[in-house]
Amino acid sequence: MGRGFLEAFFPNFRLKEELPMAIFLQVVLDGLLNGMLYALITVGLSLIWGVMDVINFAHGEFLMVAMYVTYWLGFLMNVDPLISWIASAAFVFILSVIVYKLVISQLIGKPPLSALLATFGLSMLIKNICLNRFSPNFKLLSDTYLGGRVIPMGDLILPLPQLVIAIVSLIVITCIYRFMTRSRTGWAIQATAMDRDAAELMGIDTSKIYALVFGIGGACVGVAGGLLPMYMPVHPEAGSLFSLIAFVCVALGGFGSIVGSLLAAILVGLVEALVGFYVAPIFKYVAVFGLYLIVILIRPKGLFGW
């Protein structure tokens, strides 16, 4: 088989080398921060999936749209992402609700795969509309307030944009979690997820609930997309890999479980960082997807699935 199998797969296998603790900590920190970002994207997807049983293939595109909103607000009106993310989230919320009304609502209760097909079409549509309108150019906000800033902590470097994203992510997820478990609407959402007709019979306006859930799911990813341009360039393909990772996180955490999504996303972030550094960067997603398979072997319904 040509050159040795192992050598082929691990061109820069490097576990043997001694590495200082500080680097390890830095890798873990980066993984953690990225994990928090994934969590924000995952929660939205998970919510939609868990409640409506709709696989939103356009999730990554919602992210991309949010990034564009922030970009344009920054570029045309000089609004910093630190502020404009709110607008981006709101924009995607509205976009999601519109998408729900126009497309998804017609597919509720229909074969579940039809929604998949529709969102796939949507993703293609959104991506290429952005390509058409905004050109395929990579757009980067040059002078954001936090862009490139770091807090040095001894040997460790704490990147501020990522830190802010992580904090916002934690806040948003906590809010959603409390909303889902403590509020009456949250209850209604759970009931709707379990049995739509029965929920309707409890006096719950389930189409409103669906629109709301789709909107919240979109808003979550909108928050993420609104903050990302602090250090990420925007272009029509920007959402693709994020959504891929989010899909795995959702299943890894267990569909519809918010805590599960959070933990799964952090786990994925860590594995990605550690494997990327200690094995080889190209294997980081192999490891992430492999991790999913292993976890699912032990817990077929994900970490927190019921």
Binding site: W187, M194, D195, D197, A198, A199, E200, L201, M202, D205
Partner: protein, 238 residues
């Protein structure tokens, strides 16, 4: 104006191109127990689904206390005071019994009122009281059926539609449940009942309608129906 709690006229409905109801009409007075009986597949469930708003009728109308409510979605009907307890239980399996019951009172925002109703249904169904924290899906078939009724009552409806109430209940419970139905009426709730146990149903009902292939083929007071030869032959197996 009209003294009907529920009035249904010429209802046509069906599923995806398959017509099931062909002009159903009936009426229920406030405080009555009305039974709808009929063979398997006659359209009883479809009738209740249409009245409760889960299914949109093709034509015809439904009036609730004189107000035209045709085609209103189910959640609006619940708010108006009409609750449907569907066949096949449809409880929220992953939630506890208590959570199921509280969801039943979803439209009620006052905690105290909810607590009161909880106590009320627990007194009607003592078994539930013992199981308040059990996951609903692990309860036996009969227990689930009782939970479904109790949950329906939690919304304190003016009119309750009960579908296949006794399905899968042990004999003593059938007796009990039917007794509860008569009790419910004493709390001022109007009952529309669908039952296969024609005999038992008619025994507690004031009035009955017989549905066959989506049409009302017979109606009258329970007594008359119970004595009718046709009913005896076709439904009581005598």
């Amino acid at each position: 104006m009209t003294d009907f709690a529920l009035e249904v006229r010429d209802l046509y409905a069906g599923y995806e191109g398959v017509p099931v109801l062909h002009g159903i009409s009936f009426e229920v007075k406030e405080g009555e127990i009305v039974a709808i009986v009929g063979a398997n597949g006659a359209g009883k469930t479809t009738t209740l689904r249409t009245v409760s708003g889960l299914l949109r009728p093709k034509s015809g109308f439904v009036k609730f206390y004189g107000e035209d409510v045709t085609g209103l979605p189910a959640h609006v009907m619940v708010r108006k005071g009409l609750t449907y307890v569907p066949e096949g239980r449809r409880i929220f399996g992953k939630l506890s019994v208590k959570e199921n019951l509280e969801l039943g009172a979803f439209k009620e925002e006052n905690r105290e009122v909810v607590e009161q109703r909880l106590e009320w249904v627990c007194s009607l169904f003592p078994i539930l009281k013992e199981r308040l924290n059990q996951k609903a899906e692990t309860m036996s078939g009969g227990e689930q059926q009782m939970l479904a009724i109790a949950r329906g009552l939690m919304s304190a409806p003016k009119v309750i539609l009960l579908d296949e109430l006794s399905l899968g209940l042990q004999p003593s419970l059938v007796e009990k449940v039917l007794q509860i139905v008569t009790e419910i009426r004493r709390y001022g709730v109007t009952v529309l009942l669908v039952e296969q146990r024609v005999l038992e149903a008619l025994e507690i009902a004031d009035k009955g309608y017989v549905i066959q292939s989506g049409r009302v083929v017979m109606s009258g007071s329970s007594k008359d129906l119970l004595e009718s030869e046709e009913i005896k032959r076709a439904y009581l197996g005598m």
